[in-house]
Symmetry: D3
Subunit: 156 residues, 6 copies
């Protein structure tokens, strides 16, 4: 039967014990999208060019959140990340975010990448919400991971 690794036999939540594992190189990339109207998108684009800080703020928010993942997700291990990067692309109906985290460690960085992407998207929402409350965050997911016992993985 399938079983959740974060529950013990009694169903109690716990951090998975990674004590017996050896550190290996690991990385994860997450992606997500925030859908918005053309008018809002134009405002964010204008506020992110030579004259504005919007995406820079969202990028910093994502990077800082990645470093705090173990403080936010109850059963995540605190990790000494080697690198975090957050990038954006303007698309026709919104903005896509890509967040990549990596470390040499005993456990993967999927949650760090997902947390970074999530907080970057929420920061865009925050900065544009006076223009459009109906923006929607979509398709937040892991797109790739490398390393670790389960090996490499790529979203279908």
């Amino acid at each position: 039967m399938t079983k959740l690794t974060h529950l013990d036999d009694s169903g109690a939540a716990r951090m998975v014990d990674v004590g017996g594992k050896s550190p290996t190189d690991r990385s994860a990339t997450a992606a997500g999208f925030i859908r918005m109207s053309p008018a809002t998108l134009a405002a964010v684009r204008e506020g992110s060019g030579p004259k504005g800080d919007v995406l820079a703020a969202a990028r910093i928010a994502g990077i800082m959140a990645a470093k705090r993942t173990g403080d936010l997700i109850p059963l995540c291990h605190p990790l000494a990340l080697d690198a975090v990067a957050v990038d954006f692309t303007f698309e026709a109906e919104g903005i896509a975010v890509f967040a990549r985290a990596s470390l040499t460690g005993k456990t993967g960085v999927e949650m760090e990448a997902l947390t970074a992407a999530s907080m970057a998207l929420l920061t865009i929402y925050d900065m544009a919400k006076a223009l459009e409350k109906g923006m929607v965050i979509e398709n937040l997911r892991l797109i790739e991971k490398t390393g670790g016992k389960s090996g490499d993985w790529r979203a279908a």
Copy 2:
């Protein structure tokens, strides 16, 4: 022309000054969804019943994240929340989360509700990711807000 409230005339990011506003009753409700396979859904459901902590952990993660919103989203004000609640419903293809925050204050709690929903969903992802890395977070959005200068709002 539309303009982002979180940028000054030079495009620099700033916290919007709420100094001249009077505290009023405000609330916000956000929702989101995590799509997963039937097998994973069954495992989460089993790990959330009498025998397991999954949704309790996700709920606590969401509530605690709501209280830290001002610490995570760069331009959010630190807020003295009156209440936060996070609920889940099992649906056919995944789990829906609803997060509601309220306060009597000078600025709204949309970001607190969205942050709670986001972290609750990521916690579910974390606890089930050993079973299925391809789970997707979808449709994370504000569904309602009340109070404040812009008045009540409800997603279409």
Copy 3:
């Protein structure tokens, strides 16, 4: 039947909604004790006099923890404390701590006082543990609260 205020009808944890309450003056005092051998006690006393920082460090730890109570206890409200003070008395078999917190707000500061006392005692343990691992924290409790709907209260 008695019912826990922090659970809703379905048993789900939630922050109690204080939205309808008016701010009033509130205070709480907590106390606790750390039992240790005479040799350890002498070392702490020596490290806390003109030449040492032990109790100063424990006091600061307690005060800082009080300010973070809402970040540590899942269902506590974030509070704008008016004051926190932490004091110690050397007794024959250990050190007693007293922590007092106060605010003008919608909810009480019992948890802030208890968290301050707890962290102050743990800091003493930390600084003296190389001498004696068997120190015991005892009798950590609320000794008094004032204000709020439930009025004044004093431990029997």
Copy 4:
């Protein structure tokens, strides 16, 4: 003469330098107890079964606090914990907590285990305090540690 390791020769607080130490496997288990009336105990038990989140919330609070120990106890090192687990047993006059932390590192995890136990107990207090303010936390102590230069230790 005994001397506190966390003070330098002038009595100033400092983090003990672990730079010359090699990482080894270490663990620590702490325990504590919260004494309460039969009526409160019954309410907590009811709120922790199939229908309630009380102990799940306390467990999560303990695990999250363990990860923040270095942020709470002034002279503790920030540690990359391998595992944290928090368990409870209902006893006749209250609830016992056991918290275990482990890592492969240069310094022990006694404070992480004690902090987890302490915050789990305070969370129970918080959730039940509307029923009984006079609950008392007792006998919070280290019960066992393994590894490190000082070797294994078990409370008498």
Copy 5:
């Protein structure tokens, strides 16, 4: 004789009790400067224009640090800031920062403005330190405050 408000009669540190004070409008502006070589200054300037995030990152760091002042400075009150803004000017021998914070509250925001300025400058140092380790932070000071019992004040 002069006396430090943050010490009680026994010399123990404490948070000043602001419980009897009424909230009033307050603001504070701090300034500071980071001195660097012309080559480093040119690199920062290039990394802060249309093509780079340096000052945006420093601005966000300053704003976020202001919100955490009560978490960093042991005896500061946690404050519900109304606004924070951080600005920079390029000068001949380095970069000047100006940080302004404001709130309606019982205590001043001098420390919030100073913390914001300090962290913004340290972030610039961090981003440019591979080019020049000898950069120096100078003249970090309060330049103006308004409101509160002690009234308005401006640096000589």
Copy 6:
């Protein structure tokens, strides 16, 4: 041409990837100064002797801030510090602080030492500001680093 290591080719901020580096012994020492009037200096000195906690509080603030550097400076790596020490010397026109951090790791601890010095100085400012708002923080700088690819360095 010089280039900032914390920006990618498009000018976007990122954490420098330290994944390919081997851990080595590293240390950094930062210094700074807070200038104040003789009357304020006398009050701080009196509040720091046998009867007072001023410098103990500042020391703890510095040590705790060093541990949080990765949480405050956007592009700093989270680091497992081996040691942090903060010392003060009374001088004729103010107080000098020296902060030293060390670790065995992949990246240096310059920012940790600078952050510790900065927060220690700001804590002194906070505790004495009721006496003199015009105190100035000066000459905050790195004075020495050891280890790492760039080797040892000492301020001129």
